[in-house]
Symmetry: D2
Subunit: 351 residues, 4 copies
Amino acid sequence: MIRAGIIGATGYAGNELVRLLTAHKETEIVWYGSRSYTGEKYASVYRNMFQLVEDECLDDKIEELAGEADVIFTATPQGFLAGVLSEDILKQVKVVDLSADFRIKDVSVYESWYRIAHKSPQFIGEAVYGLCEINREKVKRARLVANPGCYTTCSILTAYPLVKEGLIDTDTLIIDAKSGTSGAGRGAKLPNLFCEVNENIKAYGVTSHRHTPEIEEQLGYAAGKQVTVNFTPHLVPMNRGILVTEYASLKKKADGSLPAYEEIKAVYDKYFEKEKFVRVLEKDICPETKWVEGSNYVDVNFTIDERTGRIIMMGALDNLVKGAAGQAVQNMNLLFGLDEAEGLDLVPVFP
Amino acid sequence: MIRAGIIGATGYAGNELVRLLTAHKETEIVWYGSRSYTGEKYASVYRNMFQLVEDECLDDKIEELAGEADVIFTATPQGFLAGVLSEDILKQVKVVDLSADFRIKDVSVYESWYRIAHKSPQFIGEAVYGLCEINREKVKRARLVANPGCYTTCSILTAYPLVKEGLIDTDTLIIDAKSGTSGAGRGAKLPNLFCEVNENIKAYGVTSHRHTPEIEEQLGYAAGKQVTVNFTPHLVPMNRGILVTEYASLKKKADGSLPAYEEIKAVYDKYFEKEKFVRVLEKDICPETKWVEGSNYVDVNFTIDERTGRIIMMGALDNLVKGAAGQAVQNMNLLFGLDEAEGLDLVPVFP
Amino acid sequence: MIRAGIIGATGYAGNELVRLLTAHKETEIVWYGSRSYTGEKYASVYRNMFQLVEDECLDDKIEELAGEADVIFTATPQGFLAGVLSEDILKQVKVVDLSADFRIKDVSVYESWYRIAHKSPQFIGEAVYGLCEINREKVKRARLVANPGCYTTCSILTAYPLVKEGLIDTDTLIIDAKSGTSGAGRGAKLPNLFCEVNENIKAYGVTSHRHTPEIEEQLGYAAGKQVTVNFTPHLVPMNRGILVTEYASLKKKADGSLPAYEEIKAVYDKYFEKEKFVRVLEKDICPETKWVEGSNYVDVNFTIDERTGRIIMMGALDNLVKGAAGQAVQNMNLLFGLDEAEGLDLVPVFP
Amino acid sequence: MIRAGIIGATGYAGNELVRLLTAHKETEIVWYGSRSYTGEKYASVYRNMFQLVEDECLDDKIEELAGEADVIFTATPQGFLAGVLSEDILKQVKVVDLSADFRIKDVSVYESWYRIAHKSPQFIGEAVYGLCEINREKVKRARLVANPGCYTTCSILTAYPLVKEGLIDTDTLIIDAKSGTSGAGRGAKLPNLFCEVNENIKAYGVTSHRHTPEIEEQLGYAAGKQVTVNFTPHLVPMNRGILVTEYASLKKKADGSLPAYEEIKAVYDKYFEKEKFVRVLEKDICPETKWVEGSNYVDVNFTIDERTGRIIMMGALDNLVKGAAGQAVQNMNLLFGLDEAEGLDLVPVFP
């Protein structure tokens, strides 16, 4: 059994990790870390876990935890892991970090978008960006995995094949994203109150959302050149789910025409046909967040607009599963040589 | 592998059966029956099943199905199964009926509340009311299981220990129930449109809801005498979940006092402590539908009111799981000698 | 023009007062009191008011306000008004209190349920309970109006005619109430977060909700004797609306039969036919909160259950209008001799 | 009093017209037309109108209605008005058409996007596109007003000043729109069921939504040249509200720099400062649909992205008010020489 510790177990992503790891055959949770609820029973913080989890919440002493666990998940605020990580820890235990601390290779970019100093830049180099479908082999050999952001996982996978194959003009790429409210966390803040979110939709973080540089970096690797995008998130009155709608100009073919549907579809299939967790939908079917809820799937599809020469790409996932805890477990499976889908055979819950 | 056929696979309960049986290790689905969608791919009716189910929908020829399956689930309108069931079918296959056709022993009561003639009353006698926690042993020996209604499962289990032990005056029992909208089915009806249900709550079927006689019959067995209740369902703007709030006068003890909390708690524990799927919550914790969503749990609790001499009992479940498909699978497990919880180790999804 | 001051203008009820008074032809708001937002523009706290309200929030100095206003609305926490009210204030200005401070005549009952000491019991005697349909004439002559609670307005009006006429056994009265989330206020508390409320329903304050003694006192006046009830509130995932479902045993007539529908209907009509804001619905139509949203209406109706001898009474209102700000304006209209419906001709908003 | 007739009074837009006209001081409704509910009481179709509307629904005989009304609103399916309109009708009565029949000047464009033949193209020329803020003077002199679509009103007004002043490259304009579900109408269709919409978001009509040519035509007039856009609508789990997020490249100034915030703001103010119903928000405040709910306001704002050279424009309105019935009343006010805001002093309802 893999002994797993969670630091930040009482946030929504932490609770989803508990849900998934509780059902995972090869794992036992040995540490429910929560600075806010230290000493309280976990099941009194998340009553869905009544009779399923008997443990109390522990604090966030990662060094102690490193001696008791085989893998540590950190579902913590930005800066936490960078502030406490050490070579000593990484020698003892694998770390899957759900925060952004080790996602971005250029520390100045990190510090500029997150407005905090990075406390352990020496580990950025070895950290593997844990987008499993792209970096699978690297993850298998890693000590430290930077689990991708929810918006970024969806944004990158939706465009990846076309960027990688150079079929779109990345200078024209615009990502309009919509997220359920669990992405905002469990903090008691006025804008997240039921009456403020319900029956409402708004954009936020326009031109300044922190997932922007992460998307740009990863798509930049695919494109082989710098990519700069507009990324606009919106808050939707639902608990779970992210939908991205991405716009880009298709490059014309030698004869001046646009690629046909079948040509684009073949490119998506080239990258995703064998991927269990990425489903390229049938022609003209638009992804819906409800169809992936509770599961580790990303559903993607596209429509070509002959009138404007653009392609509209769409992707949907559950922000707490493939967008956070599910992908973290997928990374753990890779780190420990398990079947990548172990514990992730989650059939989407509808309705 | 148990070969399972579903008639009525494209209703919400049918889809939940597909979700649960797809993940069930001992079962394969051999028949996706749907009169409305015969010939269409199942995954085009429920796109959550894309790449998970490749089959097309079949019609509802139960006699043919009986030759191909070990168990048939009928998630069909009232009267369907009674209209087609035969000794020949029951000799070949186990039947778990999610409709009300065989729940009520007195055929005149059935016909009076459901306003249809019962076409095969000869099977009513042998049908076992599949409330597993109460009728476990009978289910194991049954050919035909009448899977309980969603409201009834919640209403009965919430009050059962006190009725069985004679601690409440059943003449005073009032059940105020609240349900998510999936209980209304997937039929395209104006009252179930988003804009009609959202931001709204209403009672319906006041004094006339068909689950009333089912509750009365089962609680009557527990009480050892006729029970007549008020049952009032309400429609709540959420997808899943049933909450019942039940009121009854506590019988006073010999000394004229009311039972203490601990005495009542002990009675609940007597019946439910060993039940995996019934969770008696800690003191003063009110059940919430969200804490059981997606799972087979029923959460129950109670509060004693010294001022009025009444006890307020509360219960919560997911109407599509313990209230329908989950309990049907639980019954199937019993029918085939499997671990009762096989395929039902579902951790509640929160949020 | 009536000069109105609001203390507690930045709660949900306060904002609704601003909405109604802004559209009221005979009123101008001279004071937007808010301890939390003193010095901020009101429209930056409630952006629906952008370009409609230019004022900044002021503090809660009621003595200063008394010199500038004709009427003061206090939409404040329990105990605030009792702590600051004085004869000097009441000599200058009418006060409509939306808190519970002056609703309950027996100060020990208030102190027992609210768990705070009452700082100015000397004004309890003269305070008029502002349930306009019942106490209209008293309100006209009052200096201090105790605006009823949201649950209580709905609970009382729904049962009032039958209690007043002695048609039900008040010892059997049970009130099961369901409320939208705005009733919980705008405080940033975890249980009111979107993800905690959405897709969820629960009871709370079982046997202990503070509106219980208020209901009991008022129905006691109607009954001419002490009334003790069970009152159970539930939190519903919607912004606005309260629905009550009330159960009571009908008294039998001299011949041992239950009253007929027409007899009960006539009693409701006797009290409400001429009331603009109470709509007794047509036979078999259940009240829905959506049909009164945004308006000052209370919709009521009932069903007689011959089987149990009980009557099920139902009522629906908008908790922020007839349940708070709308009734407060209705009281103001009475206090100043205006048409009682002035500013309250609000057509319900659907959907 | 203006006598108003409504054909299509039982759709959601029709019901909103009834709400607004019922409260309008200068209007009386003389005809509640509804093909589906002819002969039924209007208030039994929309119970919010109980005791407010006593009339029965009439059929859709527009010629008879023309003799009884001063203005006819048609909230009808595409093709209805074009099929029945005549010179005789227009000689007797003003017509405000909420369908698309007379919005598009080029009949072949209409027929291509709507896939129906236009039955009375002879009236297209005189029809005035009733976007009041743009065509106010033309509306005043019209007989036939084509009331704009919900998405189009929001999309056009949000970008209008910058298009009109030539500040953006219209070839780069992308409109990502999000709508509440009332926009889908009251038809009983499976995709609009509560359980299908709730907890879900999806795009639909990608590259093919019928509001596209309407936006292009109107923005084309502003630009003085043909405009072709991507317009992608999304369905959001809320009743009311449209939010648009629009992306376009800013034209650089002579010195190669982008315009400053203040320069863009000045352009918005030039067009909207005196417009009662268009609110240009303060810097960095993103429009939210909740802040305009129930009112006739459009809230707009923008953010400049120095990194990409694009401007992100945002707009929010209530699709049933400014997006349909409210704008129709605004047009009626113009047609009859009333104060343009008569009956539209609706304070947004929050929450």
